[in-house]
Amino acid sequence: MDFDDSDTDLAFRREVRDWLDEALRDVPDQEDLSQEQREHWSRVWQDRLCAGNWAGLSWPAEHGGRGLDSFAQAIFNEEAAVRGAPYPLNGVGMMLAGPTIIAHGTREQQARHLPGILRGDEYWCQGFSEPGSGSDLASLRTAATKVDGGWLVNGSKIWTSNAHNASKCLLLARTDAAAPKHQGISYLLAPMDRFTVRSLVMINGDTEFNEMFLDDVFVPDEDVLGGVGNGWKVALTTLAFERGSMALNLWVWARQAVDRVIDVALERGVVDGDGGGDTAFLDTVGQLQCDAEAVRIGSMRMLGEARAGGVPGPETSALKSLWAGVVQQANRLAVQLDDGGGVLLDGPGAAARMRRYLRARAHTIEGGTEEVQKSILAERVLHLPRSR
């Protein structure tokens, strides 16, 4: 077992670093920006990725990609994340829509949908979750009714990132109300011009997610991906890509959360630069560091398995769970160490610290709740019977 870059990987990493250093030269630290400013830079950054031919990094060459593997994507994302690069505005397109359409699409579907992602003029969003179906995704109710040449879709979706910028949606809808829960679903590549989008304000004030209301949205037959009634299977592919992509960023965010709580403690004199001071803090940071490093190393092992031909296994649930724990604890502690317990939001840095703490509460909910992650571990790692 070897945790070093291969020569090829190292050469690629150097190329990435050189490009990033140049491309990020005029990009400000995203942490200090308003949400509008962050969104502006996300768009600029997406454009630069497309222009630099990085958008289809892990797509096969025949689809316009670079034909590298997810390991290379990980290297790119890692180098981008440690530099605090903006989050690209069409992450869903590059990481989820593209790979899913490549895996399940017809030649025509691929030709129709992939170039826009690489060009950077068609943004995608994901329309899976619904108000009534959170963890129980397959209980979705958005209904597609067969009409001449396609489907009329009615219903609502929720937790959609970036819906207000997207023109296309990975849309799950029920095309057969009589079929068993998992078998009546189809996966539609839906145009968004007739979606009504309402932004959801999060508890930290950000409007990262949206609700979408579909009122007789028409999706042509040729935009059913993977065949009518096969939507659940196709969705699992997308969810696997989503899980796989976790390894690309999570550990950097965990490390940064630990960095920040140490910075607060140093600033407040809780500890000194020699590692002396409050032993309760040192114990806590010791544990946070263990967990944060475990996310990094576990991510590397997951990527290694993927390169060796495996698929991300249930162990990704352990990484997700560890990551959420580290970020939640570190961000809570950073607030508590702040002057006045961090509740005076106009104090220096206080608003950003509180925003991160509140944002982190979502980490045990989004992308599979903590309870779902533990269920997956129990069922698929420990082979316990289903508990939900």
Binding site: L200, G340, L344, A351, M354, R361, E366, T369
Partner: protein, 319 residues
């Protein structure tokens, strides 16, 4: 009857509950439009001002626990009233006779004991704690700060010299317990809201409260809240009765109450799933209040450490 609420205390809780249950001005209102006085603010200040005030301070023999019971109910409902702050200020000053207009609620006070001064712009005076005593001071300048919980406005205050100082006695401890009681209420309110969600939200064909993964975290929150409330009540009695362990009990109450409230509010968010992280659902209102009150009059973490130190001292002295 020993260790049970008096009939009067049960009545107080009931009366306060009925007073606040129809209240239109809420923590939500303040989040949207800034703080304004709820309708119950006046009646609370006017009619409940003698709760917990010792006779030496001008009271009529009400126990501190009477006040804690009232404030707990306000916490449950996140009522944005000035009453808890005013009551804490009164308690801070309660080792000596208090002015009539303070006891009648005409002159609203708020404690200025640390950097987090609540309702400074909405009060008529500040109760201050100096090394040589406590007293009432007026603010020369009040600069509003941005509070995590806009239903509890916070300010920087420049104080004039207090009118006159009187001995602090157990006043500072009594003030801390008023905050602990409100935190116990916040914890209870968050648990009630979470349990309601767990009883109604369905996933995988069952209400989520039937999954132990959900149910057990609420059971833990309920346990922490019960511990905090029992500690708070006992500390109230211990202070009122000059028990030798009163100081330890006060620190324990504030530590436990803050922990219970923050934990319950975080669990409330978790149990609400995606909706729990939106502004439009209510769980975050409990978290905001919990974090602010956990920080007020000494952080829960600082009180907890003090409990540890005092407990070690006591053990060391006894052996």
């Amino acid at each position: 009857m020993r260790a049970t609420f008096t009939q009067e205390q049960l009545e107080i809780a009931k009366t306060v509950r009925s007073l606040v249950e129809g209240e239109g001005v809420t923590a939500r209102t303040a989040l949207d439009d800034g703080w304004r006085a709820p309708a119950c603010d006046g009646p609370l200040l006017r009619d409940f001002g003698l709760l917990g005030v010792p006779e030496r301070a001008g009271g009529i023999g009400s126990d501190l626990i009477d006040l804690l019971v009232a404030v707990e109910v306000l916490g449950e409902h996140l009522v944005p009233s000035r009453f808890p702050a005013h009551a804490a200020a009164v308690q801070l000053l309660s080792a000596a006779p208090l002015p009539e207009d303070v006891l009648s609620g005409e002159r609203v006070l708020t404690p200025a004991m640390d950097a987090l001064v609540r309702f400074a712009a909405q009060a008529d005076g500040l109760a201050v704690h100096r090394p040589d005593g406590v007293g009432i001071a007026v603010a020369e300048a009040v600069v509003a700060r941005q509070s995590l919980d806009p239903s509890v406005p916070l300010s920087d205050v420049t104080l004039a010299a207090p009118e006159a100082l009187t001995p602090a006695g157990t006043g500072p401890w009594r003030a801390v317990l008023v905050v602990a009681a409100e935190l116990c209420g916040v914890a209870q309110g968050a648990i009630d809201l979470a349990a309601e969600q767990a009883r109604t939200r369905e996933q995988f064909g069952r209400v989520i409260g039937s999954y132990q993964g959900v149910a057990f975290q609420l059971a833990e929150a309920a346990t922490a809240r019960k511990a905090a409330w029992d500690l708070t009540l006992y500390a109230g009695w211990a202070v009122d009765n000059d028990r030798p362990d009163a100081q330890l009990q006060v620190h324990a109450a504030k530590a436990a109450a803050g922990r219970a409230a923050v934990f319950a509010a975080e669990r409330c968010i978790q149990v609400h799933g995606g909706m729990g992280i939106t502004m439009e659902a209510d769980p975050h209102l409990f978290l905001r209040r919990a974090l602010v009150l956990d920080a007020v009059l000494g952080s829960g973490a600082a009180h907890r450490r003090r409990v540890g130190a005092l407990r070690v001292q006591a053990r060391s002295a006894s052996s």
